[in-house]
């Protein structure tokens, strides 16, 4: 007994139960409601795109790690699955397999692996993939099929403009907002997800369920989702109050496009968001403001992806200046 060697290490000798894996699969679980909503509203197309993206992302990560970088593949940590899911959630359900595979390659290969893999990427991989596709295939990326339940036939590939595009074009053409409101689905439909759009972004309800799950599991904190949606709400609210006919109301802005998907799943990506609560609030608010600026004044009807990527670049500087309150520090 006494000649058996004892293990010696520095304290602490205990370790918490949480691991990278448990966090990543927690996010995957939180993403499931949005997938179910996508499946319900867009049918088999949503399944096809999601499976393609996830398989492609995991495969690319495996191949790059094993044959290019010659390191032990870490695909089991679940992070590539999240990238695949988020990429799929950000594209229309009728997109071709080739495009989504290319997007996966850009997301994993360029945005993640070229920086050193999980934890080292400055930009959200799924968003880099999405923006790459949006710029390269603008037509495929912006022709959304109508939700199944409002379609006469499942086979008909009817496409419809999103409420954001209708309102943006309408307001630009001088149509009063009150008339445009009659041309778009009701807020209740938008809340449930019964509108045209990307697979995972349409159902606010499903995304909010995911948010509560992640808050409950302490995977993320409230700071980024609240500050981002809050700043969008306040900013657009002020504009709407000033001129209710020339500007969309704040509820419309929150419910449409990728705001909730972005606020809950994209901006909160641990790797590419700030480290302190103060920094998270600044980060979230800035994304919100940029989103509104792009939506209202920019060329694109939607600005969430661009805003998050822009703010991703500011994360190091935010971390540098937003320090936690040190214990015992005298506040002058």
């Amino acid at each position: 007994m006494n000649n058996k060697l004892l293990k010696v290490s520095l304290s602490p000798h205990l370790s918490g139960k949480e691991s990278v894996k448990s966090i990543m699969y927690g996010v995957v679980i939180a993403l499931v409601p949005a997938f179910i909503a996508g499946l319900y509203f867009f049918g088999i197309g949503a399944l096809r795109v999601t499976v393609t993206a996830v398989v492609a992302c995991v495969l690319f990560e495996y191949v790059i790690q094993k044959y290019l970088l010659k390191v032990k593949p870490t695909i089991s940590d679940g992070s590539a699955i999240i990238t695949g899911l988020l990429l799929a959630y950000n594209v229309p359900s009728n997109i071709s397999a080739g495009i989504i595979i290319l997007g996966s390659l850009v997301a994993i290969g360029i945005a993640k692996m070229s920086f050193g893999g999980l934890g080292n990427n400055p930009f959200n991989p799924a968003l880099v993939g999405r923006v790459f596709l949006l710029i390269s295939f603008p037509v495929d990326m912006t022709s959304w099929p109508k939700p199944i339940v409002t379609r006469a036939s499942v086979i008909d590939a009817v496409t419809a403009a999103t409420p954001l595009a209708i309102v943006k074009e309408g307001l630009a053409g001088g149509t009063p907002y009150s008339i445009l409101l009659t041309q778009i689905p009701s807020y209740w439909d938008m809340f449930l997800g019964n509108v045209g759009g990307c697979i995972g972004e349409v159902s606010a309800l499903a995304l909010i369920i995911g948010l509560f799950y992640m808050l409950y599991k302490k995977i993320i904190t409230w700071h980024i989702p609240i500050s981002m949606t809050g700043s969008i709400f306040i900013f657009t609210g002020i504009m709407w109050l000033i001129n209710p006919q020339a500007n969309a109301d704040p509820v419309f802005h929150i419910l449409t496009g990728g705001v909730l998907l972005g606020a809950i799943f994209m901006a909160t990506d641990m790797v590419t968001s700030p480290m302190t609560p103060k920094g998270m609030l600044i980060f979230g608010s800035a994304i919100g403001i940029l989103t509104v600026i792009i939506r209202v004044y920019g060329a694109y009807p939607e600005g969430v992806s661009f805003s998050i990527l822009i703010m991703n670049a500011f994360v190091p500087i935010i971390n540098r200046f937003c320090k936690p309150k040190r214990f015992g520090e005298i506040i002058k």
């Binding site: 370790s15 214990f327 015992g328």
Partner: protein, 447 residues
């Protein structure tokens, strides 16, 4: 009676309590054949031995004198013959001088009152109390082992308003303070009164975590008989037993960064174990030569709380609680969060040994490290408001000046960051490296 549970506001973790020996009475352990009494059981200069080989000593006899103000006397814990003064490995693994005594009988110094009677009357004057504490070699028994008489001497220009008593025992597994509070309740209150007299304060608050409800109840009931002493139940959260966290939780004051001390915010903090030792020294004339040691672990047959003589080998204590289990992978002196891993069971109990924890093989090894995912969970659990991810990275890259400006010296090494890291990065290992280097740099600069 609905009690509001106080706690410290930022950071902290809550590992599983595992207080296996909480219901086990403190029991004496058989006298060993020899004891090894280290000369450096406290922070500060090692004591100077005043005995030589073949000297006959009694229990409680002074065998090594404090060398300087920040140092402590050491007394023999047994009666017998001094065998030799030699270098032996201590808890840290370094070989340091110790007095080795062969035990013969159990003859105590006549001056020691060995009865169980409770002496409430405090006859000593303020100055005499401090002197008695110094003479008796009392050091902080919570683990820091800072000489107690230094803490009782309030520096000029500082005032002490509160005496805070640490009955938190936030480390998982350990129960020695808990048992003392249950079994020596009145003695602890008299001890607190003694320290209050020494410091000249009128208010004392005892902080106890809510996982020791029996101790809270018993202490609260008795506190009604003692003016100025109150009991505050605290929410269970590690590292509440740290001075800074305890002062924040109890009186909402923040002890400044080193060299800041509790006295800078008007308080002195003492552990209940120390308070009991002070009671024994002042009222019973008994120097510090034994202490309560918890022997614990899931694999141990009988987790126990022993009243062990200083210098007893921990192997004796482990044998008394059922022997070392076959699957032992790690032996820790202290608790699992801040304790030191030992490489042998042949280590003597010293004044700072609050417990011995045995961990089985399967939880002894660290798990594989993966990339930092920048989840900020280390930042959110740091009770000092530091950024462990940043400090560890700066230390790793030898950017010590930057680490200094990020206040690495403020780190109390509680281990919350390493504990909570999902990537299992040993953040604290690197931060320690940074902290010691920065402290050395600061010392060299002021020289």
């Amino acid at each position: 009676m609905a009690k509001v549970l106080k706690t410290f506001p930022i950071g902290g973790v809550h590992p599983c309590d595992n207080k296996l020996s909480a219901s086990k009475q403190i029991e004496p352990v058989v006298l060993p054949a020899t004891v090894t009494i280290p000369l450096s059981q406290h922070i500060g200069a090692p004591a100077t031995p005043i005995v030589k080989p073949l000297d006959i000593v009694k229990v409680g006899q002074l065998i090594a004198k404090a060398s300087g103000f920040v140092s402590a006397n050491i007394h023999s814990s047994v009666s017998g013959t001094v065998k030799k003064i030699d270098n032996v490995p201590d808890t840290c693994g370094y070989k340091r001088p110790a007095i080795i005594i062969d035990v013969e009988d159990d003859v105590w110094e006549n001056s020691i009152d060995r009865t169980d009677s409770l002496l409430k009357e405090i006859s000593l004057s303020q100055k005499d109390i401090v002197e008695k504490v110094q003479e008796s070699g009392i050091v902080g028994l919570g683990g820091a082992t800072f000489p107690t008489h230094v803490k009782l001497s309030v520096p000029k220009g500082k005032t002490c308003e509160y005496l805070l008593i640490n009955g938190v025992e936030c480390e998982p597994y350990l129960t020695s303070d808990h048992r003392l509070m249950l079994e020596k309740t009145e003695e602890i209150f008299v001890g607190i009164k003694i320290v209050m007299k020494a410091l000249g304060v009128s208010k004392a608050i005892i902080g106890i975590e809510n996982n020791k409800k029996d101790a809270i109840d018993k202490m609260s009931a008795i506190s009604n008989n003692y003016d100025g002493i109150s009991v505050q139940a605290l929410k269970v959260q590690y590292p509440q037993g740290g001075e800074k966290q305890l002062a924040k939780a109890l009186i909402n004051r923040e002890i400044p960064a080193p060299p800041g001390l509790p006295i800078d915010v008007g308080c002195v903090i003492q552990n209940v174990g120390t308070i009991y030792a002070i009671y024994e020294a002042v009222q019973k004339n008994k120097p510090l030569f034994e202490r309560v040691v918890t022997i614990t672990g899931r694999s141990i047959k009988n987790s126990s709380n022993f009243l062990a003589r200083i210098g007893t080998s921990i192997s004796v204590l482990i044998d008394a609680s059922g022997g070392l289990p076959g699957d032992t992978g790690k032996i820790i002196s202290g608790g699992p969060m801040m304790g030191k891993a030992l490489n042998t069971t042949d280590i003597p109990v010293s004044k700072g040994t609050s417990g011995i924890l045995i961990l089985p093989e399967q939880i002894s090894s660290r798990t594989n490290i993966s990339n930092c995912i920048r989840c900020a969970k280390c930042v959110s659990v740091c009770p000092l408001g530091l950024e462990p991810y940043l400090l560890s990275k700066l230390s790793l890259r030898s950017l010590f000046d930057k680490a200094e400006s990020e206040q690495v010296v403020n780190c109390i090494e509680c281990g919350c960051c390493s504990y909570n890291c999902p990537s299992k990065i040993p953040l604290l290992d690197f931060i320690r490296l940074g902290k010691t280097t920065v402290m050395k740099n600061i010392r060299n600069r002021t020289k």
